[in-house]
Symmetry: C3
Amino acid sequence: MSRPAIHVSGDVARAVETGAPVVALESTIFTHGLPRPRNLAVALEAEELIRAAGAVPATIGVYDGVPTVGLTAEQIAVLSDTDDIDKASLRDLPVVAALGRHGGTTVAATAYLANRAGVRVFATGGLGGVHRGASETFDESADLTTLAGTPITIISAGVKSILDIGATLERFETLNIPVIGYGTRRYPGFYVSDSGYELHYSVNSPEEAAKIISSRDALGLRQAVLLANPVEESRQLPPDVLDDVLRRAWAEADRQGIGGNAATPFLLDFIQRDTGGRSLEVNVDVYRGNAALAAKVATALSAESDRDQA
Amino acid sequence: MSRPAIHVSGDVARAVETGAPVVALESTIFTHGLPRPRNLAVALEAEELIRAAGAVPATIGVYDGVPTVGLTAEQIAVLSDTDDIDKASLRDLPVVAALGRHGGTTVAATAYLANRAGVRVFATGGLGGVHRGASETFDESADLTTLAGTPITIISAGVKSILDIGATLERFETLNIPVIGYGTRRYPGFYVSDSGYELHYSVNSPEEAAKIISSRDALGLRQAVLLANPVEESRQLPPDVLDDVLRRAWAEADRQGIGGNAATPFLLDFIQRDTGGRSLEVNVDVYRGNAALAAKVATALSAESDRDQA
Amino acid sequence: MSRPAIHVSGDVARAVETGAPVVALESTIFTHGLPRPRNLAVALEAEELIRAAGAVPATIGVYDGVPTVGLTAEQIAVLSDTDDIDKASLRDLPVVAALGRHGGTTVAATAYLANRAGVRVFATGGLGGVHRGASETFDESADLTTLAGTPITIISAGVKSILDIGATLERFETLNIPVIGYGTRRYPGFYVSDSGYELHYSVNSPEEAAKIISSRDALGLRQAVLLANPVEESRQLPPDVLDDVLRRAWAEADRQGIGGNAATPFLLDFIQRDTGGRSLEVNVDVYRGNAALAAKVATALSAESDRDQA
Ligand SMILES: [Mn+2]
Ligand SMILES: [Mn+2]
Ligand SMILES: [Mn+2]
């Protein structure tokens, strides 16, 4: 090919080469997850947060058919404002690339591209997982499979309770993907700090997390490390509010006969409208918290690698 | 070992080395899928079709314990005529090889061997998938898992509706396996041109397909690309005929207590007898169509690689 | 890192380098599976059995945060006697290592570490698999996934019937993991010589097994070969005794509301107490038989490799 398959920006390439801290960010959060014009503001703010913490942000997406690690602010603005932009999971990348289209990259596609570019830490909102009813439909996110073979670290706030959280945690176990609570042994549920499920392990500092990540790498393991970073209890969606809206959202989806891939956007939209935008604010808070923690973990990891080489 | 684990014929090895178009063909279609003597005729005709289109056929099977890429016409004739020949999926290959037996290779085993030999395109009839009732039995074809780690291109006419097509499509998604319609956005159902399921992407020429495949390779992705090539509507098994015979076939299997691995051959045999051989003619038509398209895709891919290297 | 991620003892390293026969042994059998002080005696006896057969034992576990291939007798004694020691599956290894703890390694973690150290044969008691009710809970052992990517040979006595044996065998098939009976075509059920399920293939000598293993390696396949070695019929738990105790064990677990990860130890403990220790004796017999056969297979494999290089 006359051009390389993946474009890595100069800033990101330099940081990776010198071992400076870099944090990958996904693009579906601003191409598909948040309403305009909030989406662009949140995307740029996350980059600023990371820069302020001394790390290099690497927002990832497909621009004009080019999978790009380190989109410019202009490119982010264009993708934020493109109607009917493709949602590109890992298997869509070659298609979107061949067709020369724009695409927002999912957790799976972003993790893959970040890892190819040498970026070791990735901040996202929530992860994909096993969908409710998956024992019949077999609907399980490609995030699961991809993370089983992508040695990166992902800071998320757990999985949304529109998914089957118990089944998702079992899949993580079966796929050898470690899940570590940050400052907690309760698995967070994205909108809420505690999903009701327990974790085996927790860490209390970026340095502790960095040690586990280095150990994963030294052992030659290829699975992502998941760092579960709950939203602060004072800023969560009150659990009873969430339970209630979820119940009504599913009932309405049932009534309208909405299922399969259409269910997730329908449910999230219902929750957002029904909570008068409160769920949106939690979403933004969660994302900020993950970006900030990711910058610290990337910094600790960078320091740890320096020590190892000294 | 005194002899190499895989034998690649001179013709195939030369074509692979020079970047000439090659098309892999499986052997279970003539060792287990079609009745004698039609099986041999169909196997040799597929090779002829591919040669006539300017590509090199590489029929794959295990001959006398040797996994072979590029069986001779004589070897194909022997395998076609061997009673109780092993059906070799990927995990059976080392056993059949160690025991020095003949074996017809499934989609999984054929794809693996083709890829090891450097063959990039493979024409088959239908693919394996998730079996009906798999949420209880866990019966899922090894084709799924194997294709998730085998960067080849497979031209098929979808999966037979004796399987759970919806669940199979979900597994493809979870495993990051792209499924692209050829001239259609309806997923074909082997005997019928439209299984009732929609696809996200389609291409309209071998060149478009080749671009996606090259992009997959350039991105370092290891998943097979599935090109779904429907039988022509005028030559399909009429959908109402298929629905009716399937209903009766399952009822009869139930009545006779036939399940598990025995169900598939029973159902296919029932369908063939019940349709007075019409299903067999569709099967042969499907296979011809896939072989012909595969030769074109292999040719386009070969041209694309030449351009990249120029 | 100042120290290597995995410590391989001098004895084991030398044996691996010279191609002498080595047999890996897991540690959860003595850290979590058997009661004290029997656990230590059984662990050391297995090593003796292997030495007596002319092979080098490599007991594997995590000692003071160091994943170790070839624990000393003193280290085995310490791990056998540590309260609340971590049960380390593959995903736990980096955590247990980073925290500097002791850990008993499961089949998955042991197989991985053995393979990294170049050890080709591993004797265990029973394997993990698909749990009963997994179609709802998604509870499937990480052993399955790990063995699909770890080219080692495991000698076991099948899976315990507290699991869903049929579903486990289907997963082996889907994951391309060959299962070969030793002297039988009936899949053993750990406590009983015949689980009621049939196998496609069997071998009758260590040399036949070694041929299949070499063939797997020559073909570049990455799946473990499972050699299923039944307990002698005269020493099994009588099938009707097992059926009866299982039925009551499940009823009691139900009554006490015990499920999930807590179910397995509860059921095994119930079986042991209820059979007055008979199940424990079968467990020990099974383990002895597997260690002895593993030594023979490792020796045959070592001889086979010598021939190949000659
Ligand atoms: Mn899905
Ligand atoms: Mn099957
Ligand atoms: Mn489990």
